[in-house]
Amino acid sequence: MRRGIVRTLSLGLLVTTSLPALAQDKLTVWFSKGFYRSEDESLWAAIKKFEDKTGIKVELSQYAIQDMIPKTVAALDSGAPPDIGYADTYNNQAMGKWAFEGKLEDLTDVLQPIMSRFAPQTVEHTLLYNDQTKKKAYYGFPMKRQTLHTEIWGDMLDKAGFKQSDIPTNWAEYWSFWCDKVQPAYRKASGSRVYGIGAPMGVESTDSFQSFYAFMDAYDVKLVDNDGKLTVDDPKVRDGLVKALKDYTEPYVKGCVPPSATTWKDPDNNVAFHNRTTVMTHNFTISIAAKWYEDSVNPSSTPEQREAAKKAYEETIITAPFPNRPDGKPMTYRADVKPGVVFAGAKNKAAAKEFVKFMMEEENLRPYIEGALGRWFPVTKDSIESPFWQADKHRKAVYNQFKSGTEPFDYVKNYKFTQLNNENVFAKAMNRVVSEKIPVEKAADEMLARIKQVAAQ
């Protein structure tokens, strides 16, 4: 009924917009904007190649990352979604819900023939539950993934009087090292207001909860079991959570994290690091290092600027893993796998699946992933072994971290966590502690209560 009204209205309103007249030979594709020119250029090249090969016209729209979900939701609501969508935020903030509500197209038949090409812990992340069919199926085509690293200014560490080998591997000593040793020493040596640790805590950032998961993992906190059932009533979970929250917020309370960290959005920990406001920061991808690489080849910079950027990338900036867990075991990492989707309401599903098949071919996908300069790690076994990942120390560090194995986030197992990520109950708890001075135990209890509440909705 409503759709009928809408259609009449839009007919009456033939003001502009090319109505998709002959949908048959046209494919509407939405991708979030890349971070680097090289990334977008590889995508455009792949699309061009697809058009030449199949004769299907691709209409590509690229939007800012933060706009992708609202745009897509509006398009879904009005019954005119694109055929294919990809956003860096779909997987952890929307996809599980869409699959549950039956808004995504089952891609099992497209992925089945290429299953053997995927590395472990990649395609599994797109196996999601659909409440309409009461079954799990593959609702996305995984293209890339990311995980948690730390970035360090080696020269600032030098200036503070330490060497890279001085960095402890013990959990407690590690955090104390940056806060109690490096920060005061650097401040003394330079006279400038610099902070030891960049710990993202903004509710509007995904970095904050991605980092916080590492702290929860350090204390073996599992909020859901493998079937997606909440385990938050387990007293061990609460204990671990309190410890994780305490460790995460303590450096801030002690003045070792920039005060603005509580409102950082995703780019801001990068910005603080680039401006040398922090000596070390955790970051979900190596985008920090990659920015300096891009600067080193940017034709519009001066040769001196390029030289300085090259030095920063190749020498001064260090990409390193986390310290060992408090129990002495090596750290385990969660990874985000980023899939694109075909919408159930797509007008041109056959062509969309054709495009997915084409995009997943090694020779088309790899340039797009490597165009991101190390920000994204590949999902196929072949691409992982590409020489690209051995080309420098940052990429090697990423390679090693992924090789040692990663685990999925909770939203893969329970789609309600997409909303919890979206609301960011994790950063909210941090803010309760550091901005509102609530005891850590109380903040943890509130967080668990909210998780239960949302999961029950």
Binding site: V73, G202, V203, E204, A261, A427, N431, S435, E436, Q453
Partner: protein, 293 residues
């Protein structure tokens, strides 16, 4: 109001009344000329409002809304924003409108500069304030650090300070407008009244309470109500300054809708607006009574 509506048809222009055979042509043209706005109204006011209400139709949305801890905080913030923001702003505007009645060359120049905050778009200036107050790189804290070797306040990252500063930005932006309106009100008071008061030996304060205020009161009240409604819809001052942060603690109703849109919970965003209606509609009603003449 229905009484006035009923009479409009009859009390048509004398021209038309005297020439009844023209009535049809005039009415037809009137309808044609009114049509474009009516179309806009139907397609872009009636339809969105209806759509909004339709989205907010489920009682469950309101249950979720109330259960969201951010909503309660937002209501409190909105009330603080309105009560403090408007009263401070209107009081200063009333005071400054008196200041600007003084005839000095430099005051005239000042009045020209004074308009700037409201003549320039909000984004660049609000972002400028935002950067000025950044705790690490902002000029304010750098200055404090240079002078005292202490870290300055956490400005926008402190929920209380953040909201206060958002109110400050709101005042900065809209103060010139209200000052001008009240200044116009002051200038329309007859000079004779002041002269008579002077002759009676009235002090400045007595002139204000006996001459200025009685003539300005109605205008002041209308302005306050109008400002209340507009302030309720002030999105930029909060969104561009704090973005609702830290931890969604400085949201007001105007920015909450966008938050829920981002969270893919558009029903809550409309439910929040619906919750504000019992407060807004009486104000709108009063204003319509006062202004639709």
């Amino acid at each position: 109001m229905s009484a006035t509506l009923a009479t409009t048809g009859v009390g048509a222009a004398p021209v038309t009344a005297r020439r009844p055979f023209r009535l049809n042509a005039w009415q037809t043209w009137g309808a044609i000329l009114l049509a474009p706005y009516l179309l806009v109204f139907v397609f872009f006011v009636v339809y969105p409002v209806g759509y909004g209400l339709w989205l907010a139709r489920h009682p469950a949305s309101y249950v979720h809304l109330v259960a969201d801890p951010i909503f309660a905080g937002t209501v409190v913030n909105t009330l603080i924003f309105l009560i403090v923001g408007i009263n401070v702003k209107m009081a200063i505007a009333l005071f400054l409108s008196g200041f600007f009645t003084h005839e000095r060359r430099w005051i005239r120049w000042l009045s020209v500069l004074f308009i700037l905050p409201w003549a320039v778009p909000s984004i660049p200036t609000i972002l400028s304030v935002r950067f000025m107050l950044n705790p690490e790189w902002g000029v304010v804290n750098q200055l404090i650090f240079r002078l005292t070797a202490e870290d300055g306040p956490n400005w926008l990252n402190d929920p209380r300070l953040g909201l206060t500063l958002a109110i400050g930005v709101h005042i900065w932006k809209s103060l010139p407008f209200w000052t001008l309106i009240l200044l116009a009100g002051r200038l329309s008071i007859s000079a004779d009244l002041y002269e008579a008061a002077s002759v009676d030996g009235a002090s400045g304060w007595q002139k204000f309470t006996h001459v200025t205020w009685p003539s300005m009161r109605a205008l002041y009240v209308t302005c306050t109500i109008l400002s209340m409604i507009w302030t309720l819809g002030d999105f930029n001052s909060v969104y561009l300054l704090t973005g609702g942060g830290p931890a969604d603690l400085t949201h007001v109703l105007a920015t909450l809708g966008i938050r829920y849109l981002r969270l893919d919970q558009v029903d809550l965003s409309m439910a929040a607006v619906v919750c504000a209606m019992p407060f807004v509609l009486p104000l709108v009603y009063v204003l319509m009574r006062r202004l639709s003449k």
